[in-house]
């Protein structure tokens, strides 16, 4: 499902973001990515979600070699991945419905199909009553649930979440985490970056540790 083989990422200023990274994640797995700030978690996620290319080595996601993606193929690759960020990345001037519907709109789905699927996924994350609210009118936890709904709406094979609970209090974090576990139970591979050691200890999932760009699975 996700495999890194001797992957390196060297930035133009010479800084090595990732060094000889090799690991694999199987279909349907729930895996934590753990490491201190600046260890390379975000760089690794960028490679998985097609927002960057490795300098050398191989990164394979859903059977696609990310380093060989052409510019025109990248959007279609991204449509198969769900990405959640710590800062939610919602558009403030669009309603919850419009934010969640976006992946289907860019795909050119019919309006009726979009409406049905948005209602379904918002029901799943417990926000069906927030359809016409704007992001600024709902809480942080609800905003993150909207971001999760947007990441799930197109049935991605892989869901990557970069510190999804970083901006939330403990109760909200637990709620979001339960949601991610539910998504995983439905068969989606989930890869979550976190530096919450407590959370990692409490859960029975595999942990990929990263430190100064090097991975120890």
């Amino acid at each position: 499902m996700i495999s890194f083989s001797h992957a390196y990422k060297v930035f133009p200023n010479g800084y090595q973001g990732l060094r000889n990274v090799s690991f694999e994640i199987e279909k349907g797995e729930f895996v934590f990515l753990s490491g201190p700030s600046g260890a390379g978690k975000t760089t690794l996620f960028r490679l998985i979600s097609g927002f960057d290319r490795p300098s050398s080595g191989e990164v394979n996601v859903l059977g696609t070699d990310v380093s060989s993606l052409t510019s025109s193929a990248i959007p279609y690759f991204r449509r198969r991945i769900g990405v959640i960020y710590q800062d939610f990345r919602l558009l403030r001037d669009r309603t919850v419905f419009e934010n969640v519907a976006m992946p289907l709109m860019v795909r050119g789905d019919r309006h009726l199909a979009i409406e049905r699927r948005v209602r379904e996924v918002l029901e799943q994350v417990g926000l069906s009553f927030r359809l016409s609210n704007f992001p600024d009118e709902i809480s942080g936890g609800e905003q993150q649930r909207v971001a999760i709904a947007r990441a799930l709406i197109h049935h991605p094979g892989v869901l990557v979440a970069d510190e999804p609970t970083g901006n939330l209090d403990q109760d909200m974090s637990n709620e979001i985490f339960k949601l991610l576990e539910m998504v995983n139970a439905q068969g989606t591979t989930v890869f979550v970056a976190t530096h919450d050691a407590d959370l990692i200890r409490r859960k029975p999932y595999r942990v990929v540790r990263i430190h100064e760009g090097e991975v120890s699975a």
Partner: protein, 306 residues
């Protein structure tokens, strides 16, 4: 896609109305500059047309040229559409005119049987106003060469020096106008592009999120280009309305100050072709400015950079 583009446009105007108004204002000013350049160009052309009118040619004939040859020559000039008037002046009439111009006492020479008049007979022709300004010099030169080849023609005079200077001035001045127009166009495009860019940079997050969810470049760029086209069209219409208003005010003011007809005639309103150029420039400014800006933000990797 059409619905998405109109929604995008509505949202852009509702949320960033101040930036949109600023963009339209700047584009209107740039397009008004172009309008006044067109007006200036038309005025310049009108003045040049006026100066170029009334070009005349004098064909001096050899002594002893037979009547039939003169008639043939006169007929060939008269029947050509390039001359409005052709007038024959016989040797004695020309001499009389010349001597009268010198002074009445000079007319005594006519009574002197030994005096032989050096003044030749001539044909005077006025170039038709229907001949385009740009080809007047060529027509005169063509006729001059043709007439000089005639065995009964002594010389042809049409103010060659003045006409040649006029032609080179015309070429130079037109070149300057075109150069100035091209410069204004490039500067205008730069200003408009930067203005739209400022407006678009405020919405960088929107482009990032669209990239994040897998939107293609076409999907991301089209609404922005449409927005640019609408901005350009609105600015173009505003600039035309303002230019017409200012032109009318200027004419009123000029008419009150001077009734100098040449200036008033030269300051004709914008011609249909310049209105078209203005509209096309407005739309092109908007579309190119928007495209130039959005392609810099929509690199495919902007979400990663955020």
């Amino acid at each position: 896609m059409n619905q998405l583009m109109s929604q995008h446009l509505f949202r852009a105007w509702r949320k960033h109305w101040a930036l949109q108004v600023a963009s339209v204002t700047i584009m209107t000013m740039v397009l008004m500059m172009l309008n006044f350049l067109f007006l200036g160009y038309s005025a310049f052309n009108g003045t040049i047309e006026h100066w170029g009118r009334g070009l005349e040619m004098t064909v001096y004939l050899k002594d002893g040229a037979p009547d039939w040859a003169l008639e043939k020559l006169e007929k060939s000039m008269r029947t050509s559409r390039e001359f409005d008037e052709v007038h024959f002046t016989g040797k004695s009439e020309a001499t009389k005119k010349f001597l009268t111009a010198l002074g009445p006492e000079s007319l005594d020479l006519l009574a002197d049987p030994k005096w032989k008049s050096p003044i030749p007979a001539s044909l005077d022709a006025k170039l038709s106003d229907k001949v385009a300004t740009s080809s007047r010099v060529q027509v005169m030169e063509g006729w001059s060469a043709k007439l000089k080849a005639n065995e009964y023609v002594e010389d042809v005079f049409y103010g060659q020096g003045w006409v040649e200077n006029f032609a080179s001035f015309l070429g130079g001045a037109r070149g300057l106008v075109v150069l100035f127009w091209a410069l204004s166009l490039s500067v205008g495009l730069m200003i408009v592009s930067n203005c739209i860019r400022l407006s678009f940079l405020q919405r960088r997050d929107e482009i990032e999120v669209l990239e994040l969810v897998g939107a293609t470049s076409r999907f991301i760029r089209m609404p922005y280009i449409f927005e640019g086209v609408v901005l350009g069209l609105v600015a173009s219409l505003c600039s035309l309305a303002l230019s017409y208003g200012m032109h009318a005010l200027l004419l009123n003011w000029l008419a009150g100050k001077w009734s100098f007809w040449v200036a008033l005639q030269a300051l004709s309103p914008l011609e249909p072709w310049s209105v078209m150029v203005n509209l096309v420039s407005g739309v092109a400014f908007g579309a190119l400015g928007a495209w130039n800006c959005v392609r810099r933000i929509n690199t495919g990797w902007s979400a990663a950079a955020g």
